[in-house]
Amino acid sequence: MLTANRLRDGDVLYRKGDGWVLYLTEGDVYRDQGCADAALAAANAELVRNEFVAPYLFEVREVGGKIVPVKEREIIRAAGPTVHRHTGKQAAHA
């Protein structure tokens, strides 16, 4: 998947199509490296719009039918901190 942070508030974004969404569950999953690289290249080209910063790819896997990041760092970015659980994106589902 492809992620970035929104410039104006730093919020975590996920790539969907040619745009961005706020939740990992709504983002695009790239099944092959070529698609992932193309999405990253497109995002890098859009940096001049000054809407988001620092795009990068990260790995996900399917667990019980759900898409889950491989690394703890991305799990936390997607949900919010594991303390103060009323904060972060997880708050919307609380």
């Binding site: 703890e72 936390i76 901190p81 303390v83």
Partner: protein, 562 residues
């Protein structure tokens, strides 16, 4: 509600003059312009990043993080209330006191930062020198001006160093960040020896007050304890001497390798003797020019801001009797004050289960009320992420304790195993490899029983979520370092570190433990200590006497069996 009823007392601390106010205001306007230019696209992210870092603004995992300077850890109640207001208005209702005695907000929007900086400037605060490759916020002994152990209050010197370094044209673009601490007692509460440079107020054989200067300490990837550069620098020469150290560092440090750019690497590469020689040469040159003397009048002028309050006389020096819980709190959290009838009260932000260093807006407001009512409007932030009411009448301690209990900040654990330092770690930090806070919470809950804590005695656990060591793991009696193994968190144990006057670097025990194993491993280490210790020995003393092996055998043997 107290703040609406009475005029808050004005603590004896530095107050902005016209120049300071203009400087901070100009800087706010400058950064507001830079933010606007970034949002409009006039500045690229690469151009903007060093500018935001010069104003304490980081981009972290979930949002921007704004780090606010608390010079030498001193805050007024007015400033505390402003921090509460900012937490409520721009963050998610809480802030985090750091090991550099600053305060961080972790949920900040870039578009809000100019307004926040303007609000901070209104109470003589800013975010300058809290990030970037500059001389960082100067820290000091949190008991400064209150303890009877000190030669003199070190904060005037800290303020002078702050003013000297803030706009110093030579040191705006150092190779790396540069941290300075000051102290004035033999007991080191400010981790002096772990700083790039540290100054200790001392008296020479003739009884004259001067300064001992150390340099080359630091944590991070390559930990070193500082070397003494000069055992006695005369008062009027101190800025020239500090400038000489910084000048040698600035000229001779490596800029080609980010891991070798700190002064500790320079000093330990060329050797402390050669460093002293180079510094002496620069110092002589600066002295010869005579442009950097510290006039007595200027020292006196700054010192006057920190004049000791007019303490009440005739107070009883007896500790009130307010029950066993209060007595336990007194045992660990109350320290001797220089004025009869007064005490220094430590509020540990570490009730087991809490996030070390976190404070909600409501708690900040309530502490501001306590400051006004009982501590002459003042609080200190310690590098151990606690708050200190520096000037409290002993007779008021029961009322303070009762209020702290309501705030869930009355844990009688200062200096004990649950008084854990922890960086924000992977829950917030972009650099972290592993979480620190949940590990601190887990260990604190494991050792929550107060009798057990007292049985264990003084024990400093310090947890970092990465090798940058913001959680001071190298200096922990028990240090914990979070590492990443293929995306999974592991935790290395270190034993034998100290951040006090007996500073030492903790030794790594061996391979890391899993997230669910680390609290058990710590407990097994503690059990070895309890079995092996001799009368009066702290954990650190026992470790230094018997070494690593027994601790290691217990930690891994039982981990393997589990």
């Amino acid at each position: 509600m107290l703040n609406t009823l009475i005029q808050p007392p004005q603590p004896n601390m530095y107050r902005y003059d016209e120049f300071d106010a203009q400087f901070v205001s100009d800087r706010v306007n400058q950064f507001a312009g830079q933010v606007a230019r970034r949002l409009s696209g006039e500045l690229t992210e690469d151009q903007f990043k060093p500018l935001r870092l010069m104003n304490g603004l980081y981009l972290q995992l979930h949002a921007y993080m704004l780090r606010i300077a608390v010079p030498y850890g001193t805050l007024s109640s007015k400033q505390m209330r402003k921090l509460a207001h900012l937490a409520r208005t721009y963050d998610k209702g809480f802030g985090h006191f750091t090991t550099r005695t600053n305060l961080q907000f972790h949920w900040i929007k870039l578009v809000d930062v100019p307004a926040m900086l303007r609000e901070l400037a209104d109470v003589e605060m800013h975010c300058i020198q809290t990030s970037g490759n500059c001389v960082r916020n100067v820290t000091a002994d949190q008991f400064a001006g209150a303890t009877d152990e000190e030669i003199e209050d070190p904060r005037p010197l800290a303020e002078i160093i702050r003013q000297w370094s803030s706009l110093h044209p030579e040191f705006v673009f150092l190779a790396r960040k540069f941290k300075i601490a000051v102290g004035a007692t033999e007991k080191d509460r400010a981790a002096l020896q772990w700083h790039d440079m540290a100054v200790q107020v001392v008296k020479n054989a003739e009884g004259r007050i001067g300064y001992l200067v150390m340099a080359g300490g630091g944590m991070g990837r390559t930990p070193y304890v500082a070397h003494v550069m000069n055992e006695f620098v005369e008062r009027e020469d101190i800025l020239a001497y500090l400038e000489a150290v910084l000048r040698v560092y600035n000229q001779d440090s490596r800029r080609d390798n980010i891991h070798k750019q700190r002064i500790k690497i320079l000093i330990n590469t060329i050797g402390p003797e050669e460093m002293r020689r180079r510094v002496a040469r620069e110092f002589e040159e600066l002295k010869r020019m005579g442009t950097l003397q510290l006039p007595k009048e200027e020292l006196d002028r700054i010192t006057a801001y920190f004049k000791a309050p007019d303490f009440e006389t005739g107070l009883s020096d007896d500790m009130p009797d307010a029950g066993p819980d209060f007595a336990n709190w007194v045992k660990t959290n109350i320290h001797k004050h220089k004025a009869p009838g007064y005490a220094i009260a430590t509020i540990t932000l570490k009730t087991p289960g809490q996030v070390p260093g976190d404070c909600s807006a409501a708690q900040m407001d309530a502490i501001a009320d306590l400051m006004d009512q009982y501590s002459l409007g003042e609080v200190r932030v310690s590098h151990e992420q606690n708050l200190i009411l520096p000037h409290v009448r002993k007779k008021d301690l029961p009322a303070i304790y009762a209020r702290l209990k309501e705030l869930d900040f009355a844990s009688p654990n200062a200096g004990l195993i649950t008084d854990i330092i922890a960086c924000p770690g992977l829950d917030y930090c972009d650099l972290a490899n592993a979480r620190s806070i949940p590990i601190a919470q887990k260990i604190a809950k494991r050792f929550e029983n107060l009798d057990r804590q007292h049985q264990i005695g003084e024990l400093k656990i310090k947890i970092s979520g990465c090798i940058n060591a913001c959680g001071h793991h190298h200096a922990g009696h028990i240090g914990i370092l979070g590492v990443d193994k293929k995306g999974v968190e592991f935790y290395q144990l270190l034993l034998g570190g100290s951040g006090a006057e007996d500073s030492s670097i903790g030794a790594i025990m061996g391979p890391g433990f899993g997230e669910h194993e680390i609290a058990d491993a710590v407990e097994r280490v503690i059990n070895v200590y309890l079995a092996e210790r001799k009368a009066g020995e702290r954990f650190l003393d026992t470790y230094r006497r018997i070494g690593m092996e027994k601790f290691k055998a217990a930690a891994y043997q039982e981990a393997a069996a589990a």
